[in-house]
């Protein structure tokens, strides 16, 4: 059999791949169902994650509030999408809607600093170097990761811990190198294999952590 007739023999298995498909309505119906299913999966993961982490949120929130009251500040960081979630968390502390602003920054905010450090000393030190320059023992570090294995985050947590900072790690999968790590004071693990679903749960965890700090602030 020649190649064309070989293709035609198996075309029936994949009616859409050969480019002759013309009716989008079946695809749109599938996409709608898929969106509903994934959203439900995400909501269930967020619920179970909050339940599993409720006690740790209270503990970490209390320690953070204690440090903020003593003049401490928050530094957040991550890679890729996690860097944007870290930036969202810092902005929530620093510019909250109708709440008390607290000093907080993302360590990926400055492209000159990131590219200088990455180019000159290597990307693994991109966050650790900034903590060396800026951070004090009263401060708080939050590392956001889906794998828990990124070298730049682990080195930053080591630096933060050695300086007496309070260190918080957000991770996923089985927790990676954040688990049982002496440099991580509070470790939030989202038990999922999906990077997307992990990030969605971490965003909500971050919001709850902020809310816990605000609640503690009110009690002072």
């Amino acid at each position: 059999m020649n190649q064309q007739s070989l293709d035609e023999a198996t075309n029936f298995l994949y009616p859409f791949i050969d480019g002759n498909e013309t009716d989008a309505s079946a695809l749109l119906a599938d996409l709608t169902e898929s969106a509903l299913a994934k959203a439900a999966e995400s909501a269930a993961l967020r619920q179970s994650t909050l339940a599993a982490c409720a006690h740790l949120i209270e503990i970490a929130g209390a320690e953070m509030a204690h440090r903020f009251a003593a003049g401490g500040r928050l530094f957040t960081f991550g890679n890729g999408g996690s860097s944007t979630d870290a930036a969202t968390l810092a902005a929530l502390f620093a510019s909250p809607p109708a709440a008390h602003p607290l000093p907080a920054w993302s360590l990926t905010a400055d492209q000159a600093v990131l590219t200088a450090l990455g180019n000159d000393v290597g990307f693994d030190l991109v966050f650790a170097r900034q903590l060396i320059a800026r951070a004090r023992d009263a401060d708080i570090a939050v590392a956001m990761s889906t794998s828990g294995n990124s070298a730049d985050l682990l080195l930053a947590l080591r630096e933060a811990h050695s300086r007496g900072m309070y260190t918080i790690g957000f991770t996923g999968y089985d927790g990676g190198a954040f688990i049982d790590n002496p440099d991580v004071d509070a470790c939030f693990v989202v038990q999922s294999q999906s990077v997307h679903r992990i990030q969605e749960s971490q965003a909500l965890l971050g919001h709850r952590l902020w809310a816990a700090v605000q609640a503690q602030e009110k009690n002072r």
């Binding site: 480019g19 013309t22 749109l28 119906a29 898929s34 959203a39 890729g80 979630d85 902005a91 919001h207």
Partner: protein, 238 residues
């Protein structure tokens, strides 16, 4: 009092996501760049861009998505977006710069997607409105928006598995084709300082010179309705 975690997204929103992702796949297949804006939440613009340009799932296509942040959002989008491109915004319905961008999208030939929460934008403000009615001003920091644009990415990549559906049919099924002489098209004034009183106007099909006798003097950035070589009326921002 912290917000409860919503159980699921509504059926309507799921259908809106499906349609938006299908359109997005069509546009990307035709060579579009997606410009991502979020003036009040710059990290969302960055998150959307990095999702598409460097997917978390190995082997998926890298697509041209760019975050535009910082001052003069309208000017940045105006100079960046080409006909056929997509603009996606994460913003409240009253975000002034996003409203100005959405208002001009038809003049630029750009498809628009708007993600937000609270009061909805007016009907037709964007081609695809992906909205959560919850009024909580902290919702943008809870991961709900992240879920929506993650779903958009996931569904768009499912659409790429159906190449036959991504090139729109060019068949003309009408008895009479709509031509320039039959319709008014949105234009944005580029310059209006011509000695003969004409103006250069940007429309979805390119730059045109129009007679301004009906509208009177125009300024750069003004919105006009273009018909048969004339600016027949100025349009408001709303």
């Amino acid at each position: 009092m912290t917000a409860a975690v919503p159980s699921v997204i509504a059926q309507d929103l799921a259908a809106d996501l499906a349609i938006a992702s299908f359109t997005l796949a069509q546009r990307f297949s035709a060579g579009a760049t997606m410009w991502c804006v979020a003036p009040a939440f710059a990290p969302h613009a960055h998150h959307i861009a990095v999702e598409f340009v460097h997917p978390v799932i190995v082997g998926k296509r890298a697509l041209p998505a760019v975050a535009l942040t910082g001052p003069d959002l309208l000017g940045q989008v105006r100079v960046s977006a080409r006909a056929g491109d997509v603009v996606i915004a994460v913003a409240a319905a009253d975000e002034r710069d996003v409203r100005a961008v959405m208002r001009r999208a038809a003049a630029w030939g750009v498809t628009t997607i708007w993600i937000g929460n609270g009061d909805r934008p007016q009907h037709g403000a964007a081609d695809h409105v992906l909205w959560l009615d919850d009024q909580d001003p902290a919702l943008p920091a809870t991961g709900e928006f992240v879920l929506l644009y993650h779903l958009l990415w996931e569904l768009t990549h499912v659409c790429f598995e159906h190449p036959g559906l991504l090139t729109p049919s060019r068949e003309c099924t009408d008895d009479v084709c709509i031509t320039c002489s039959d319709e008014g098209r949105l234009g944005e004034v580029i310059t209006a300082a011509h000695a003969d009183g004409s103006a250069s106007v940007r429309t979805a099909t390119g730059t045109e010179t129009v007679v301004t006798a009906l509208t009177g003097p125009l300024s750069p950035g003004d919105l006009v309705l273009v018909h048969a070589g004339m600016a027949i009326s100025r349009l408001s921002e709303d």
